[in-house]
C-alpha cells in the first residue's frame, strides 16, 4: 500500500475548527426519542457557535443513528443540505465524523457541518448483544455462535492476554476506573457524580467477564451530543475561541473482524495501532506534546492499551504507566478529564470529543492549566478513528 503520509493531508491540517458544542443532560432514561434529542443537541451546538440552522449545509453522524438526515434538517430548518455521511463501527466512528466533515469542508463540498451522536442505551433491553435472533452471518459467525457476544468478553480476551504477557494487574485497570471516577466528581453532568470509587471497592467488583468486573465496564447511558465544524476563516468571526482540528485519522487494521479481530498482524495489536501510525504521521505534534488525553474507555483495559497504541509508553508498559496517579488531573497525563465513558456517560465516545474541545477552550470543570493540545480517540478493537485538537 502506498504511504499517503501525507502531502494531501496538509490540506486538512489546521484548516477546520470546532466552533460549537452542545449536549443534553445524560440520563438512564431520557424519556424522548433520539430523533428529538439529536435535533436539540445540534441546536445547542449551533447556539454555542452563534450560528443558525440556515448556515449549515453538511451533516456527519454515526451509521448506527436511526434518524434520517432529512428529518433532522427539516426539524432544525436546514435549507440547503448538500453533503452528508454516516460512519460505521459504533465507537470507532467518533473522530471520523470530524475527519469526514473536514474533508468535505476543505474540498468545497460543504461549508459548515454538524456532527452528532444521539443514543438511548440506558434500558437493559436495548443492548444489541441481548437481541441476537436471526441466523448469525459473516464476521459475527466467527464468534457469536460460541457465545462470545458481549463486548466485555471480546475485550476481556485481549485484556487477559495482556495481563499474561506483560504482567498487567487488575490494580492497573483499577487506576483507570478510579481516575475517571475522580474526574467525574466535579462534572455536574456526570452520571457517577457523588459516587467516588476506591481501590478496595474496585477489586471487590463482581465478575462480568473475568478478569473484567463491574467497575471495568463503561456506563449505559441515554445521551445526545453535537458539534459544529467549519473552516478556520469562518471560525474567526464566530462566538467561541476556535478549536483546531490539527490531525485526524481513520483505520481498520489488518485482517479485521468487526470487534474480535484476533488474527491481525502484529498479533493481538488493536486497530488503534494502525490509526495511531497514520495520526502521528499527519501531526506536527507528537504524544509528548499532549497536555491531556481522552482515550476511549468502553472498558478500562482499552485505556491501558490505548496509551501504548498511541505512543505514550511502550508496548506492555501501559499498566505501570497508570501508577502514582499519573492519569489523574494533577498527574503527568490526565486522561478522561470529564469522567469519560466510565463515569460521565457512555455515548460512543462523542463526549470525549466535547471534553477535548472544552480543554482547548479552557472551560473544562477539570481544566488542565494552559492546555494547548489534546488527543481524542475512538473505540479500540473495531475500525477506529482519532484526532488531535489544538489551540488556534
Amino acid at each position: 500500500m502506498a504511504d499517503v503520509g501525507d502531502d494531501l493531508f496538509r490540506r486538512i491540517q489546521d484548516r477546520v475548527a470546532i466552533v460549537g458544542i452542545g449536549h443534553l443532560p445524560f440520563a438512564k432514561d431520557i424519556g424522548r426519542p433520539i430523533a428529538d434529542t439529536a435535533v436539540e443537541a445540534i441546536q445547542l451546538a449551533l447556539d454555542d457557535a452563534g450560528l443558525e440552522a440556515e448556515d449549515v449545509d453538511g451533516m456527519s453522524m454515526f451509521e448506527m443513528e436511526s434518524t434520517h438526515e432529512v428529518s433532522i434538517a427539516r426539524r432544525l430548518g436546514v435549507e440547503g443540505l448538500r453533503w452528508w455521511d454516516k460512519i460505521s463501527y459504533g465507537g470507532g466512528a467518533s473522530c471520523a465524523t470530524l475527519m469526514h466533515a473536514a474533508a468535505a469542508i476543505t474540498s468545497g463540498l460543504a461549508t459548515t457541518v454538524v456532527c452528532h451522536r444521539a443514543r438511548n442505551r440506558g434500558a437493559k433491553t436495548s443492548r444489541p448483544w441481548a437481541q441476537e435472533r436471526e441466523l448469525v452471518r459473516d464476521d459475527k459467525a466467527l464468534h457469536v455462535p460460541w457465545g462470545l457476544v458481549r463486548p466485555v468478553d471480546v475485550i476481556g480476551m485481549w485484556a487477559h492476554r495482556h495481563m499474561h504477557e506483560y504482567g498487567t494487574r487488575r490494580e492497573h485497570f483499577g487506576n483507570v476506573a478510579i481516575a475517571a471516577r475522580k474526574h467525574a466528581q466535579r462534572n455536574p453532568y456526570a452520571m457517577m457524580r457523588d459516587r467516588p470509587l476506591d481501590m478496595e471497592t474496585y477489586l471487590a467488583g463482581r465478575p462480568i467477564g473475568w478478569p473484567l468486573t463491574f467497575y471495568d465496564c463503561c456506563l449505559e447511558t441515554d445521551g445526545a451530543l453535537a458539534c459544529v465544524v467549519t473552516s478556520v476563516e469562518r471560525a474567526r468571526d464566530l462566538r467561541q475561541r476556535p478549536v483546531l482540528l490539527h490531525a485526524v485519522a481513520q483505520a481498520s487494521g489488518s485482517n479485521p473482524v468487526h470487534l474480535a479481530n484476533y488474527n491481525n498482524t502484529p498479533a493481538m495489536e488493536t486497530t488503534s495501532v494502525f490509526c495511531a501510525k497514520l495520526l502521528w504521521q499527519r501531526s506536527a505534534l507528537q504524544p509528548r506534546d499532549m497536555d491531556c488525553a481522552q482515550i476511549y474507555d468502553a472498558f478500562t483495559p482499552l485505556v491501558i492499551t490505548g496509551l501504548e497504541d498511541y505512543g505514550f509508553c511502550r508496548r506492555g508498559e501501559g499498566g505501570p504507566f497508570t501508577e502514582g496517579g499519573r492519569l489523574e488531573l494533577d498527574g503527568a497525563l490526565p486522561v478522561l478529564t470529564s469522567g469519560g465513558g466510565l463515569a460521565e456517560a457512555y455515548v460512543h465516545g462523542f463526549n470525549l470529543i466535547l471534553e477535548g474541545v472544552r480543554q482547548i477552550r479552557g472551560t473544562s470543570v477539570n481544566q488542565v492549566p494552559d492546555c494547548k493540545a489534546t488527543l481524542v480517540t475512538g473505540a479500540s478493537g473495531v475500525a477506529t478513528s482519532a484526532a488531535v485538537l489544538r489551540v488556534a
Partner: protein, 136 residues
C-alpha cells in the same frame, strides 16, 4: 435441548461452508494457500486472486489456550445453563486463533498455554459447533 434463541451460524455461507460441513462430520477444517503455504483465518472466498490458490484441509484439532474469559451473568438466555462459561481463544497447532468455549473444564483449571483438543457439539441436524476440551 437447544434454546430457541440460540444464535445459530449461517452454515450455507459460501465462504464458511467447508468449515461447517466439516464440523458436522467431526472434522476441524482450515484453509491454506497452496502457493505460499500460509493459512487464512478467517477464510477467504475460493475465487480470491483468480481462484485455484486456496484449499481446505483437515486440521489436527489440537492447540493451546492463547487467552480466555470466564463469563458470568447477565448473559444470553441460550447459554445460561453453561455459566460460568469459559470462552477461549485457541491457538491451533497450525497457527490461527479460533474462538470457542471449553467443555469438561472448570474455570479454576484453566491456564494460559494449556493443551486443548477439539470436541464436536451437535446443536441441530445441520449445525455442529467445534468446541474445546482439555487434551489430557
Amino acid at each position: 435441548m437447544m434454546h430457541p434463541d440460540y444464535p445459530l451460524p449461517d452454515v450455507d455461507d459460501p465462504v464458511m461452508r467447508p468449515f461447517w460441513d466439516g464440523a458436522r462430520e467431526g472434522r476441524l477444517m482450515l484453509q491454506r494457500d497452496r502457493t505460499t503455504g500460509l493459512l487464512h483465518w478467517p477464510p477467504k472466498p475460493m475465487y480470491w486472486k483468480g481462484g485455484a490458490r486456496l484449499e481446505w484441509f483437515v486440521a489436527s484439532g489440537r492447540g493451546r489456550i492463547y487467552s480466555y474469559v470466564v463469563a458470568h451473568e447477565p448473559f444470553l438466555p441460550a447459554f445460561q445453563h453453561l455459566l460460568p462459561l469459559v470462552l477461549v481463544l485457541v491457538e491451533v497447532d497450525e497457527g490461527p486463533r479460533l474462538v470457542g468455549y471449553m467443555v469438561g473444564c472448570r474455570p479454576d483449571e484453566m491456564a494460559f498455554g494449556m493443551r486443548v483438543r477439539v470436541v464436536f457439539e451437535r446443536l441441530t441436524e445441520r449445525v455442529t459447533l467445534p468446541v474445546w476440551g482439555p487434551d489430557r
